[in-house]
């Protein structure tokens, strides 16, 4: 059995279409971070590269909960879509071949959210990605107790 040092090599086998498996295994792609404007609104771009059937980044990190403005690009030569979590209602956008759109989301933090392309089995082939919101809950929502050990 291989061990952790082989992680990059093994990921290369997994990440992509028709390699180790039929599609790309979820969570094996790239990682990116959103930027933040002075007013606290976060910004990021997510993209579907050509013939990859994955989102780049596959994990988008947000420093805290709140509003995020996404630019969404489909560089693929196939039509996809994007269904994203947001407080109130999920946000949907159709993505024709070589198209570009926008989405504004409101997400609580901390927590991990999945989104995907709800078309055929895009989600299973690899077009499912994560938005990871960091940070802490507001101070007034914390328990009245001393700081506790964490794992």
């Amino acid at each position: 059995m291989t061990i952790a040092q082989d992680r990059e090599d093994l990921l290369a086998e997994l990440a992509g279409q028709n390699k180790a498996t039929i599609g790309a295994v979820l969570g094996t792609g790239s990682i990116g971070k959103a930027t933040e404007r002075p007013d606290g609104t976060m910004e990021a771009t997510i993209r579907i590269p050509e013939d990859a059937m994955t989102w780049e980044p596959a994990i988008l990190m947000l420093p805290h909960g709140g509003k995020i403005e996404l630019t969404i690009i489909n560089d693929d030569k196939n039509t996809h879509a994007c269904l994203l979590p947001s407080n109130g209602e999920r946000q949907f956008i159709g993505l024709l071949n070589h198209s570009k759109g926008r989405a504004t989301l409101e997400l609580d933090g901390p927590g991990c959210y999945w989104y995907g392309s709800p078309a055929g089995n895009d989600e299973g082939r690899g077009l499912t990605a994560a938005i990871v919101v960091g940070g802490e809950v507001p101070p007034e929502a914390k328990l009245d107790r001393p700081a506790q050990p964490r794992p």
């Binding site: 996404l70 969404i72 690009i73 489909n74 994007c82 269904l83 994203l84 979590p85 947001s86 407080n87 109130g88 209602e89 999920r90 946000q91 949907f92 956008i93 159709g94 993505l95 024709l96 071949n97 070589h98 198209s99 570009k100 759109g101 926008r102 989405a103 504004t104 989301l105 409101e106 997400l107 609580d108 901390p110 927590g111 991990c112 959210y113 999945w114 989104y115 995907g116 709800p118 989600e123 499912t128 994560a130 919101v133 802490e136 809950v137 507001p138 007034e140 929502a141 914390k142 328990l143 009245d144 107790r145 001393p146 506790q148 050990p149 964490r150 794992p151």
Partner: protein
Amino acid sequence: MTVEYVDAGEAFNHSELSNLPHSAPDVTRGINYERILQARSESQNWITYYGDYDGKRHSLLDQINVDNVKNLKVAWIHQASATGLIASTSTYAFEACPLVVDGVMFVTGWDGWLWALDATTGEQLWRYKHAVPFDVTLCCANVNRGCAVANGKVYMVTQNAQLLAIDATNGQKVWQKTIGDVRAGESASIAPLVVKDTIITGSAGGEYGVRGHIDCWDLETGEQRWRTYTVPKPGEPGSETWPADGEAWQRGGANHWVTGTYDPELNLYYAGTGNPAPDFDGEVREGDNLYTDSVVALDVDTGEIKWHYQFTPHDLWDYDSTMEMTLFERDGKKLLAHFDKNGYMFVLDRTNGELQHVTPFVDRIDWGVITRDGKVTPRKYPDKEGEPCHFFPGPAGAKEWTHASYNPEHDLFYVPVADVGATATRRRREFKEGMPYWGAAVEVDIDNMAGSVSAFDSHGEEKWRYRLNNMPMAASTLSTAGNLVFAGTPAGEFMALHAETGEKLWSFQCGSGHHSSPSTYSVNGKQYISVPVGWGGWLEGIVPGLSGQGHGASLITFSL
């Protein structure tokens, strides 16, 4: 050559791709404290979690009755199911109690869902979907027990410990408050309760070593009015029941995760509290561990605990006492009845918490004995590290959170009884925030299960029993003036029983197990019975022998 991108535009609400009208009549505008005080008198509606502040889950509607219930048929079905990757992907459940106001139903689902439905046709009028993190800490799956309505709004909590006020006419969020710390392992599943100009919530997370609390919020602004912790700090009343020099109180549990009841004359909110943490390792928390496994009577204006009664002192079996405290009167006395996980029915004087009597309500109890005057003697509990201990009832209790109902005409409580044992083997672990903190390996029996809907009078005498076929009950009962008791089974059967005899008069196979609270209402003179169906939740604890049942996620409504 650079080719311009096709403009895909701006993402929009997914619900736009549906036939939803996105609007509902402004029916909750007129719901206020005065109306909720008289909720049972408007039995055409179901405007608060239990149908009334007293927790009886009894409706005065009698159009559907013992004579005609055999003709009950499906009126409509609301199907929801789950899409995408959600928290508790395999174990989410439909646990809510539907509210109905003047022909509009408001019902919560799992994973931040709230639907407004036409109560006569099931047509979806609007929906709200909160984004719930995939990795939120949930001991007992992705569930929600219901909403509250008042002043033109619908109120609900989410699994990631948010309290939401939503415009009842269009499903738009009005305000949101964070009411717990998800990093500490807190979550929320309770149906909020509107009292006066406030709304009361509680926290979940007792399996993760949090410190339980009950909160009161301004109905209009969401501003916090008070917070009462259900585990005292050193120096506070009750702190003497925790180790003096330890940290146990900081992780003590006692979560209030099921809606309380309320007596407006006494101005008291009766809140049930959950297990101490760690659940099964009592050595790290010597003492009675107040206010775990208790009813605490809170002054609704201040949150002050006026009195308490502890059902299982120094719990070692995970016997939460969060389930309903039913308020009733007998011989001129204001009383409270409670069917505890520990297998005993308690009747208290609700003015001061004085015990009236205790009686067992399940056949197999061997964890210990409680005498009729309340003396508790533990007999079997996980004591030595690594040594298995089998006991009845198991940690899901002789009655889980699901509710009994009470018919005052017959002085009968209709109790969903579970008779299932379990083995706990103490395994001490170090506390780490957000990690499970049980202190044992636990295996609930997958066979030798029993269960029933049992009718007890207020003195604790069993009057009849409808036995299930080798399975426990895991859903709330509903009592109606039609002399009927409605109850759903884990096998999917929804039944109407005769309120005086327990005879089964009607049933319908819903296709998935029941783990929710049915309600009843009428529109234009026609009575309906509505039940959320969808098998899931903490099945490895409640009934592991049926955890492979079909999942499902539908709301089924019946009428004549």
